[in-house]
Protein backbone atom coordinates (compact mmCIF):
# COMPACT_ATOMS: atom_id res chain seq x y z
CA UNK A 1 0.00 0.00 0.00
CA UNK A 2 2.63 2.42 1.13
CA UNK A 3 4.86 1.79 -1.85
CA UNK A 4 1.99 2.48 -4.21
CA UNK A 5 1.27 5.73 -2.46
CA UNK A 6 4.89 6.74 -2.82
CA UNK A 7 4.77 6.12 -6.53
CA UNK A 8 1.66 8.28 -6.78
CA UNK A 9 3.40 11.05 -4.95
CA UNK A 10 6.41 10.74 -7.17
CA UNK A 11 4.35 11.05 -10.34
CA UNK A 12 2.56 14.15 -9.12
CA UNK A 13 5.66 15.57 -7.52
CA UNK A 14 4.11 16.01 -4.11
CA UNK A 15 6.76 17.06 -1.55
CA UNK A 16 7.79 14.28 0.75
CA UNK A 17 7.07 16.19 3.94
CA UNK A 18 3.47 16.69 2.84
CA UNK A 19 2.71 13.19 1.67
CA UNK A 20 4.26 11.52 4.71
CA UNK A 21 4.55 12.69 8.26
CA UNK A 22 8.27 13.07 7.97
CA UNK A 23 9.71 16.20 9.55
CA UNK A 24 11.58 18.76 7.53
CA UNK A 25 14.59 20.45 9.10
CA UNK A 26 15.89 23.69 7.71
CA UNK A 27 19.11 25.05 9.11
CA UNK A 28 20.00 28.61 8.35
CA UNK A 29 23.54 29.40 9.35
CA UNK A 30 24.58 27.71 12.53
CA UNK A 31 22.07 29.42 14.74
CA UNK A 32 18.62 28.88 13.32
CA UNK A 33 16.91 25.55 12.99
CA UNK A 34 13.37 25.29 11.68
CA UNK A 35 11.57 22.02 12.31
CA UNK A 36 8.35 21.44 10.43
CA UNK A 37 5.95 18.61 11.03
CA UNK A 38 6.80 17.90 14.62
CA UNK A 39 4.71 16.33 17.28
CA UNK A 40 5.82 17.87 20.51
CA UNK A 41 8.61 18.83 22.82
CA UNK A 42 9.88 16.16 25.07
CA UNK A 43 12.50 18.11 26.87
CA UNK A 44 13.64 21.67 26.84
CA UNK A 45 16.75 22.91 28.52
CA UNK A 46 18.97 25.80 27.72
CA UNK A 47 21.59 23.43 26.34
CA UNK A 48 19.40 20.64 25.05
CA UNK A 49 16.15 20.36 23.14
CA UNK A 50 14.44 17.05 22.48
CA UNK A 51 11.72 17.19 19.86
CA UNK A 52 9.35 14.35 19.12
CA UNK A 53 8.31 13.70 15.53
CA UNK A 54 6.29 11.02 13.79
CA UNK A 55 9.33 9.01 12.78
CA UNK A 56 11.58 9.59 15.72
CA UNK A 57 13.20 12.03 18.09
CA UNK A 58 15.45 14.93 17.22
CA UNK A 59 18.06 15.93 19.76
CA UNK A 60 19.59 19.37 19.52
CA UNK A 61 22.66 20.24 21.53
CA UNK A 62 23.97 23.73 22.00
CA UNK A 63 23.97 26.79 24.19
CA UNK A 64 21.36 29.45 24.86
CA UNK A 65 18.76 27.59 22.91
CA UNK A 66 15.48 29.45 22.53
CA UNK A 67 12.23 28.32 21.02
CA UNK A 68 11.70 31.49 19.12
CA UNK A 69 8.59 30.58 17.22
CA UNK A 70 6.19 27.85 18.03
CA UNK A 71 3.03 26.88 16.22
CA UNK A 72 1.36 23.53 15.98
CA UNK A 73 3.36 22.71 12.82
CA UNK A 74 6.57 24.68 13.04
CA UNK A 75 9.23 25.11 15.63
CA UNK A 76 12.07 27.55 15.27
CA UNK A 77 15.02 26.91 17.51
CA UNK A 78 17.66 29.60 17.73
CA UNK A 79 20.87 29.77 19.67
CA UNK A 80 24.30 28.30 19.38
CA UNK A 81 23.59 24.88 17.85
CA UNK A 82 26.41 22.43 18.27
CA UNK A 83 24.89 19.23 17.04
CA UNK A 84 21.79 17.47 15.92
CA UNK A 85 21.19 13.77 16.20
CA UNK A 86 18.25 11.51 15.61
CA UNK A 87 16.72 8.56 17.42
CA UNK A 88 14.75 6.53 14.93
CA UNK A 89 11.71 4.68 16.07
CA UNK A 90 10.70 1.59 14.21
CA UNK A 91 7.42 1.45 12.31
CA UNK A 92 5.94 -0.99 14.72
CA UNK A 93 6.66 1.24 17.64
CA UNK A 94 5.01 4.21 15.97
CA UNK A 95 1.94 2.27 15.09
Amino acid sequence: MRKKARKFDEIFEIPVELSTNEPKLTITGFERLLIENYKGILEYQEYFVRVNTHIGIININGFNLNLEEMTSDDLLVTGKIEGIDFEEVSDEAEA
Partner: protein, 393 residues
Protein backbone atom coordinates in the same frame (compact mmCIF):
# COMPACT_ATOMS: atom_id res chain seq x y z
CA UNK B 1 6.67 31.33 10.94
CA UNK B 2 3.10 32.53 10.76
CA UNK B 3 3.24 35.48 13.03
CA UNK B 4 5.12 38.54 12.14
CA UNK B 5 6.46 41.26 14.38
CA UNK B 6 4.19 44.05 13.20
CA UNK B 7 1.06 42.03 13.58
CA UNK B 8 2.13 40.98 17.05
CA UNK B 9 2.59 44.59 17.95
CA UNK B 10 -0.78 45.65 16.63
CA UNK B 11 -2.72 42.91 18.36
CA UNK B 12 -0.69 43.25 21.53
CA UNK B 13 1.18 40.68 23.50
CA UNK B 14 2.52 39.99 26.96
CA UNK B 15 5.86 38.72 28.14
CA UNK B 16 5.34 36.11 30.79
CA UNK B 17 7.42 34.08 33.17
CA UNK B 18 6.46 30.48 33.66
CA UNK B 19 7.72 28.68 36.72
CA UNK B 20 7.24 25.01 37.29
CA UNK B 21 8.64 21.53 36.83
CA UNK B 22 6.57 20.39 33.88
CA UNK B 23 7.38 23.09 31.43
CA UNK B 24 7.70 20.76 28.44
CA UNK B 25 4.25 19.51 29.16
CA UNK B 26 2.98 23.03 29.44
CA UNK B 27 4.42 23.92 26.06
CA UNK B 28 2.99 20.83 24.43
CA UNK B 29 -0.48 21.48 25.75
CA UNK B 30 -0.28 25.02 24.48
CA UNK B 31 0.62 23.64 21.12
CA UNK B 32 -2.23 21.22 20.90
CA UNK B 33 -4.69 23.92 21.90
CA UNK B 34 -3.39 26.20 19.17
CA UNK B 35 -1.97 28.70 21.59
CA UNK B 36 1.05 30.33 20.06
CA UNK B 37 4.08 30.93 22.18
CA UNK B 38 7.23 32.55 20.99
CA UNK B 39 10.55 33.77 22.27
CA UNK B 40 10.65 30.84 24.62
CA UNK B 41 13.80 31.07 26.63
CA UNK B 42 14.90 28.97 29.50
CA UNK B 43 16.40 30.83 32.42
CA UNK B 44 17.04 27.78 34.57
CA UNK B 45 15.49 24.38 34.97
CA UNK B 46 12.25 25.68 36.42
CA UNK B 47 11.93 29.12 34.93
CA UNK B 48 11.01 30.02 31.36
CA UNK B 49 10.33 33.30 29.62
CA UNK B 50 7.85 33.45 26.76
CA UNK B 51 5.61 35.79 24.83
CA UNK B 52 1.95 35.26 24.16
CA UNK B 53 -0.95 37.00 22.47
CA UNK B 54 -3.33 38.83 24.73
CA UNK B 55 -6.29 36.85 23.48
CA UNK B 56 -4.56 33.59 24.36
CA UNK B 57 -3.44 34.63 27.77
CA UNK B 58 -6.68 33.77 29.56
CA UNK B 59 -6.60 30.25 28.23
CA UNK B 60 -3.32 29.70 30.05
CA UNK B 61 -4.92 29.62 33.49
CA UNK B 62 -6.42 26.22 32.93
CA UNK B 63 -3.20 24.81 31.60
CA UNK B 64 -1.35 26.21 34.59
CA UNK B 65 -3.59 24.34 36.96
CA UNK B 66 -3.05 21.15 35.06
CA UNK B 67 0.72 21.38 34.92
CA UNK B 68 1.13 23.09 38.27
CA UNK B 69 2.95 26.05 36.84
CA UNK B 70 2.92 29.64 37.96
CA UNK B 71 2.59 32.48 35.53
CA UNK B 72 3.61 36.08 36.03
CA UNK B 73 3.24 38.91 33.62
CA UNK B 74 6.49 40.66 33.05
CA UNK B 75 5.78 43.15 30.33
CA UNK B 76 2.83 44.34 28.34
CA UNK B 77 3.63 45.34 24.83
CA UNK B 78 1.71 46.44 21.79
CA UNK B 79 -0.85 48.89 20.60
CA UNK B 80 -3.79 47.91 22.81
CA UNK B 81 -1.79 48.71 25.92
CA UNK B 82 -0.65 52.04 24.56
CA UNK B 83 -4.19 52.97 23.68
CA UNK B 84 -5.29 51.98 27.13
CA UNK B 85 -2.59 54.11 28.65
CA UNK B 86 -3.58 57.16 26.65
CA UNK B 87 -7.26 56.71 27.20
CA UNK B 88 -6.80 58.71 30.34
CA UNK B 89 -5.47 61.57 28.25
CA UNK B 90 -8.56 61.85 26.13
CA UNK B 91 -8.51 65.60 26.09
CA UNK B 92 -4.96 65.74 24.91
CA UNK B 93 -5.82 63.72 21.87
CA UNK B 94 -9.07 65.53 21.41
CA UNK B 95 -7.22 68.80 21.20
CA UNK B 96 -4.54 67.34 19.00
CA UNK B 97 -7.25 66.23 16.64
CA UNK B 98 -8.91 69.61 16.92
CA UNK B 99 -5.70 71.40 16.05
CA UNK B 100 -5.08 69.22 13.05
CA UNK B 101 -8.66 69.73 11.95
CA UNK B 102 -8.49 73.48 12.35
CA UNK B 103 -5.31 73.62 10.33
CA UNK B 104 -6.92 71.60 7.60
CA UNK B 105 -10.02 73.74 7.66
CA UNK B 106 -8.13 77.02 7.82
CA UNK B 107 -5.99 76.03 4.90
CA UNK B 108 -9.07 76.26 2.72
CA UNK B 109 -9.35 79.99 3.19
CA UNK B 110 -7.48 83.00 1.94
CA UNK B 111 -5.73 84.72 4.78
CA UNK B 112 -3.43 87.10 3.07
CA UNK B 113 -3.64 89.18 -0.03
CA UNK B 114 -0.48 90.63 -1.42
CA UNK B 115 -0.23 93.12 -4.18
CA UNK B 116 2.83 93.14 -6.33
CA UNK B 117 3.88 95.46 -9.03
CA UNK B 118 4.61 99.13 -9.06
CA UNK B 119 1.49 101.10 -9.55
CA UNK B 120 0.17 104.42 -8.44
CA UNK B 121 -3.18 102.83 -7.85
CA UNK B 122 -3.75 102.69 -4.12
CA UNK B 123 -3.84 99.23 -2.67
CA UNK B 124 -7.14 99.86 -0.97
CA UNK B 125 -8.73 100.52 -4.30
CA UNK B 126 -7.49 97.26 -5.74
CA UNK B 127 -8.50 95.35 -2.66
CA UNK B 128 -11.92 96.94 -2.84
CA UNK B 129 -12.21 96.01 -6.50
CA UNK B 130 -11.09 92.47 -5.86
CA UNK B 131 -13.41 92.21 -2.92
CA UNK B 132 -16.39 93.12 -5.04
CA UNK B 133 -15.43 90.25 -7.32
CA UNK B 134 -15.29 87.82 -4.47
CA UNK B 135 -11.66 87.67 -3.43
CA UNK B 136 -11.16 88.83 0.10
CA UNK B 137 -9.53 87.69 3.28
CA UNK B 138 -11.48 84.85 4.79
CA UNK B 139 -13.00 83.57 1.58
CA UNK B 140 -13.04 79.92 0.70
CA UNK B 141 -10.37 79.17 -1.84
CA UNK B 142 -12.64 76.96 -3.87
CA UNK B 143 -15.15 79.69 -4.52
CA UNK B 144 -12.59 81.97 -6.08
CA UNK B 145 -12.46 81.96 -9.82
CA UNK B 146 -9.27 83.81 -10.59
CA UNK B 147 -9.82 83.94 -14.32
CA UNK B 148 -13.15 85.61 -13.88
CA UNK B 149 -11.73 88.14 -11.47
CA UNK B 150 -8.85 88.93 -13.77
CA UNK B 151 -11.20 89.49 -16.66
CA UNK B 152 -13.44 91.73 -14.62
CA UNK B 153 -10.57 93.82 -13.33
CA UNK B 154 -9.24 94.30 -16.79
CA UNK B 155 -12.63 95.32 -18.05
CA UNK B 156 -13.16 97.73 -15.24
CA UNK B 157 -9.78 99.42 -15.08
CA UNK B 158 -8.10 100.93 -18.07
CA UNK B 159 -4.96 101.79 -16.18
CA UNK B 160 -4.07 98.18 -15.55
CA UNK B 161 -2.67 96.41 -18.51
CA UNK B 162 -2.11 93.02 -16.97
CA UNK B 163 -3.38 91.28 -13.85
CA UNK B 164 -2.36 87.96 -12.48
CA UNK B 165 -3.81 86.30 -9.43
CA UNK B 166 -1.98 83.42 -7.88
CA UNK B 167 -3.29 81.47 -4.97
CA UNK B 168 -0.60 79.63 -3.11
CA UNK B 169 -1.51 78.06 0.14
CA UNK B 170 -3.54 80.64 2.02
CA UNK B 171 -1.89 83.49 0.25
CA UNK B 172 -3.27 85.26 -2.78
CA UNK B 173 -0.85 87.33 -4.78
CA UNK B 174 -2.20 89.92 -7.14
CA UNK B 175 0.33 91.00 -9.70
CA UNK B 176 -0.32 94.17 -11.54
CA UNK B 177 1.30 95.83 -14.45
CA UNK B 178 0.31 99.38 -14.92
CA UNK B 179 -0.66 100.54 -18.32
CA UNK B 180 1.26 103.49 -19.59
CA UNK B 181 -1.10 106.35 -19.95
CA UNK B 182 -0.78 107.00 -23.58
CA UNK B 183 -2.22 110.07 -25.15
CA UNK B 184 -5.01 109.20 -27.42
CA UNK B 185 -3.47 108.43 -30.70
CA UNK B 186 -5.27 110.19 -33.44
CA UNK B 187 -4.94 108.89 -36.91
CA UNK B 188 -3.52 111.21 -39.49
CA UNK B 189 -6.68 110.87 -41.46
CA UNK B 190 -8.80 112.19 -38.62
CA UNK B 191 -9.47 115.81 -37.95
CA UNK B 192 -7.96 117.36 -34.87
CA UNK B 193 -7.02 120.64 -33.25
CA UNK B 194 -4.13 121.46 -31.01
CA UNK B 195 -5.18 122.48 -27.54
CA UNK B 196 -3.18 123.94 -24.69
CA UNK B 197 -2.65 121.58 -21.82
CA UNK B 198 -1.18 124.19 -19.50
CA UNK B 199 -1.56 127.82 -18.72
CA UNK B 200 1.21 129.45 -20.66
CA UNK B 201 2.36 132.38 -22.73
CA UNK B 202 2.91 131.56 -26.37
CA UNK B 203 6.39 132.21 -27.68
CA UNK B 204 6.26 130.66 -31.06
CA UNK B 205 3.72 128.80 -33.12
CA UNK B 206 4.81 127.06 -36.24
CA UNK B 207 1.87 125.38 -37.78
CA UNK B 208 2.38 122.84 -40.48
CA UNK B 209 -1.27 122.26 -40.92
CA UNK B 210 -4.22 124.09 -39.50
CA UNK B 211 -5.03 127.64 -38.56
CA UNK B 212 -3.20 129.20 -35.62
CA UNK B 213 -5.64 131.09 -33.44
CA UNK B 214 -3.05 132.67 -31.16
CA UNK B 215 -0.17 135.02 -31.70
CA UNK B 216 3.12 135.31 -30.00
CA UNK B 217 2.67 136.81 -26.59
CA UNK B 218 -0.88 135.58 -26.12
CA UNK B 219 -1.71 133.94 -22.90
CA UNK B 220 -3.54 130.68 -23.14
CA UNK B 221 -5.24 128.72 -20.41
CA UNK B 222 -5.68 125.02 -20.22
CA UNK B 223 -8.12 123.90 -22.87
CA UNK B 224 -7.77 126.80 -25.25
CA UNK B 225 -7.40 125.93 -28.89
CA UNK B 226 -4.00 126.98 -30.19
CA UNK B 227 -4.15 125.65 -33.70
CA UNK B 228 -7.57 124.95 -35.11
CA UNK B 229 -8.05 121.90 -37.21
CA UNK B 230 -9.60 123.58 -40.15
CA UNK B 231 -8.63 125.85 -42.99
CA UNK B 232 -10.75 128.57 -44.40
CA UNK B 233 -10.19 129.42 -47.97
CA UNK B 234 -11.89 132.04 -50.01
CA UNK B 235 -13.30 129.56 -52.44
CA UNK B 236 -13.07 126.31 -50.70
CA UNK B 237 -14.91 127.29 -47.52
CA UNK B 238 -14.24 125.63 -44.23
CA UNK B 239 -12.18 122.54 -44.62
CA UNK B 240 -11.25 120.32 -41.73
CA UNK B 241 -7.68 119.09 -41.45
CA UNK B 242 -5.42 117.19 -39.15
CA UNK B 243 -3.67 120.04 -37.38
CA UNK B 244 -0.01 119.74 -36.79
CA UNK B 245 2.15 122.35 -35.14
CA UNK B 246 4.95 122.96 -32.79
CA UNK B 247 4.04 125.33 -30.02
CA UNK B 248 6.64 126.83 -27.78
CA UNK B 249 5.48 128.64 -24.73
CA UNK B 250 6.55 130.05 -21.45
CA UNK B 251 5.17 128.13 -18.55
CA UNK B 252 5.33 129.22 -14.95
CA UNK B 253 5.67 126.86 -12.10
CA UNK B 254 5.12 128.29 -8.68
CA UNK B 255 5.44 126.89 -5.27
CA UNK B 256 5.37 128.35 -1.81
CA UNK B 257 7.51 127.13 1.03
CA UNK B 258 7.14 128.15 4.61
CA UNK B 259 10.33 128.22 6.57
CA UNK B 260 10.22 128.76 10.30
CA UNK B 261 13.05 130.72 11.73
CA UNK B 262 13.01 128.47 14.71
CA UNK B 263 13.00 124.91 13.59
CA UNK B 264 13.25 121.78 15.61
CA UNK B 265 15.09 118.90 14.17
CA UNK B 266 14.73 115.35 15.30
CA UNK B 267 17.93 113.60 16.10
CA UNK B 268 17.76 109.97 17.00
CA UNK B 269 19.65 109.00 20.08
CA UNK B 270 19.95 105.43 18.96
CA UNK B 271 18.03 104.07 21.91
CA UNK B 272 15.22 101.74 20.98
CA UNK B 273 12.69 99.62 22.78
CA UNK B 274 10.46 96.94 21.38
CA UNK B 275 7.02 95.78 22.28
CA UNK B 276 4.92 93.17 20.64
CA UNK B 277 1.30 92.41 20.14
CA UNK B 278 -0.67 89.73 18.43
CA UNK B 279 -3.40 90.56 16.00
CA UNK B 280 -6.12 88.10 15.14
CA UNK B 281 -8.01 89.50 12.23
CA UNK B 282 -8.84 92.87 13.76
CA UNK B 283 -8.62 91.94 17.36
CA UNK B 284 -5.40 93.00 18.97
CA UNK B 285 -3.80 91.58 22.06
CA UNK B 286 -0.96 93.53 23.51
CA UNK B 287 1.72 91.46 25.06
CA UNK B 288 2.57 92.87 28.44
CA UNK B 289 5.03 95.66 28.06
CA UNK B 290 4.49 99.15 29.25
CA UNK B 291 5.08 102.12 27.07
CA UNK B 292 8.68 103.09 26.64
CA UNK B 293 10.44 105.25 29.12
CA UNK B 294 11.49 107.74 26.52
CA UNK B 295 10.02 111.17 26.63
CA UNK B 296 9.97 111.68 22.93
CA UNK B 297 9.91 108.82 20.55
CA UNK B 298 8.78 107.65 17.17
CA UNK B 299 6.75 104.50 16.89
CA UNK B 300 7.47 102.21 14.04
CA UNK B 301 4.97 99.48 13.43
CA UNK B 302 6.06 96.33 11.74
CA UNK B 303 3.54 93.69 10.80
CA UNK B 304 4.43 90.15 10.23
CA UNK B 305 1.96 87.57 9.13
CA UNK B 306 2.51 84.25 10.72
CA UNK B 307 2.80 81.38 8.37
CA UNK B 308 3.33 77.70 8.46
CA UNK B 309 5.65 76.27 5.92
CA UNK B 310 6.34 78.62 3.07
CA UNK B 311 2.94 79.78 2.02
CA UNK B 312 0.39 78.76 4.58
CA UNK B 313 -0.61 82.03 6.13
CA UNK B 314 -2.47 81.94 9.38
CA UNK B 315 -4.98 84.62 10.27
CA UNK B 316 -2.56 85.77 12.89
CA UNK B 317 -0.39 88.78 12.77
CA UNK B 318 2.52 89.62 14.92
CA UNK B 319 2.96 93.33 15.35
CA UNK B 320 6.25 94.67 16.50
CA UNK B 321 6.45 98.19 17.77
CA UNK B 322 9.83 99.78 17.78
CA UNK B 323 10.15 102.94 19.78
CA UNK B 324 13.00 105.11 18.73
CA UNK B 325 14.00 107.82 21.06
CA UNK B 326 14.87 111.15 19.62
CA UNK B 327 15.98 114.49 20.83
CA UNK B 328 14.79 117.77 19.52
CA UNK B 329 17.41 120.23 18.57
CA UNK B 330 16.44 123.83 18.11
CA UNK B 331 17.76 125.39 14.97
CA UNK B 332 17.61 129.15 14.56
CA UNK B 333 17.95 130.46 11.06
CA UNK B 334 18.67 133.97 10.05
CA UNK B 335 16.39 135.40 7.41
CA UNK B 336 19.02 134.93 4.73
CA UNK B 337 19.53 131.33 5.68
CA UNK B 338 15.80 130.68 5.80
CA UNK B 339 15.42 132.18 2.36
CA UNK B 340 18.06 129.88 0.95
CA UNK B 341 16.46 126.90 2.59
CA UNK B 342 13.11 127.88 1.16
CA UNK B 343 14.55 128.20 -2.34
CA UNK B 344 16.22 124.83 -2.07
CA UNK B 345 13.06 123.18 -0.92
CA UNK B 346 11.04 124.80 -3.63
CA UNK B 347 13.48 123.68 -6.24
CA UNK B 348 13.28 120.17 -4.93
CA UNK B 349 9.52 120.06 -5.02
CA UNK B 350 9.44 121.43 -8.57
CA UNK B 351 12.24 119.22 -9.77
CA UNK B 352 9.92 116.93 -11.65
CA UNK B 353 8.29 119.69 -13.66
CA UNK B 354 11.33 121.69 -14.62
CA UNK B 355 13.78 118.93 -15.10
CA UNK B 356 15.43 118.99 -18.50
CA UNK B 357 13.73 122.15 -19.63
CA UNK B 358 15.19 125.49 -20.39
CA UNK B 359 14.78 127.79 -17.42
CA UNK B 360 14.21 131.33 -18.58
CA UNK B 361 13.74 133.06 -15.33
CA UNK B 362 13.49 132.49 -11.64
CA UNK B 363 11.59 134.76 -9.33
CA UNK B 364 11.72 134.66 -5.59
CA UNK B 365 9.27 136.49 -3.43
CA UNK B 366 9.86 136.56 0.27
CA UNK B 367 7.28 137.50 2.81
CA UNK B 368 8.55 137.88 6.31
CA UNK B 369 6.33 137.20 9.29
CA UNK B 370 7.27 137.30 12.93
CA UNK B 371 8.38 133.72 13.29
CA UNK B 372 8.53 132.43 9.76
CA UNK B 373 9.13 133.49 6.22
CA UNK B 374 7.24 132.47 3.16
CA UNK B 375 9.24 131.95 0.05
CA UNK B 376 7.39 131.92 -3.21
CA UNK B 377 9.51 130.68 -6.04
CA UNK B 378 8.41 130.93 -9.63
CA UNK B 379 10.26 129.27 -12.44
CA UNK B 380 9.72 130.42 -15.93
CA UNK B 381 10.34 127.57 -18.28
CA UNK B 382 10.34 127.26 -22.01
CA UNK B 383 8.66 124.12 -23.22
CA UNK B 384 6.53 122.63 -25.92
CA UNK B 385 2.88 122.54 -25.10
CA UNK B 386 -0.21 121.48 -26.86
CA UNK B 387 -1.93 118.17 -27.36
CA UNK B 388 -4.02 117.00 -30.19
CA UNK B 389 -7.71 116.85 -29.61
CA UNK B 390 -10.13 115.23 -31.94
CA UNK B 391 -12.71 117.44 -33.45
CA UNK B 392 -16.08 116.13 -32.54
CA UNK B 393 -18.85 117.18 -34.85
Amino acid sequence: MKSNKLLEYVTGYVDIVIEGYYIEQFINICNTRQINLWNIKKENSIKVFASIQISDFRKLKQICKKTKCKIKIQNKKGLPFIIKKYKKRKFFFLFLLLIVLTIIILSNFIWNIEIEGETDIPKEEILELVKSEGLEIGKLKRTIDTKEIINKIRLERDDISWVGIEIEGTNATIKLVKADEKPEIINDSEYCSIVADKNAMILKVSAQNGTPLVKEGDIVTNGDIIVAGWMEGKYTGKQYVHAQAEVQAKVWYTTTEKVYLKETEKVETGQTENSYSVKINNFQINLPKSLPKFQKYDTIEENKKLKLFSNFYLPLELVKYTYKEYEEIQLIHSIEEAKQIGIDRAKESLQEEIDGKEILDKQVKVRTETDYIEVEVTYEVKENIGIKEKIVF
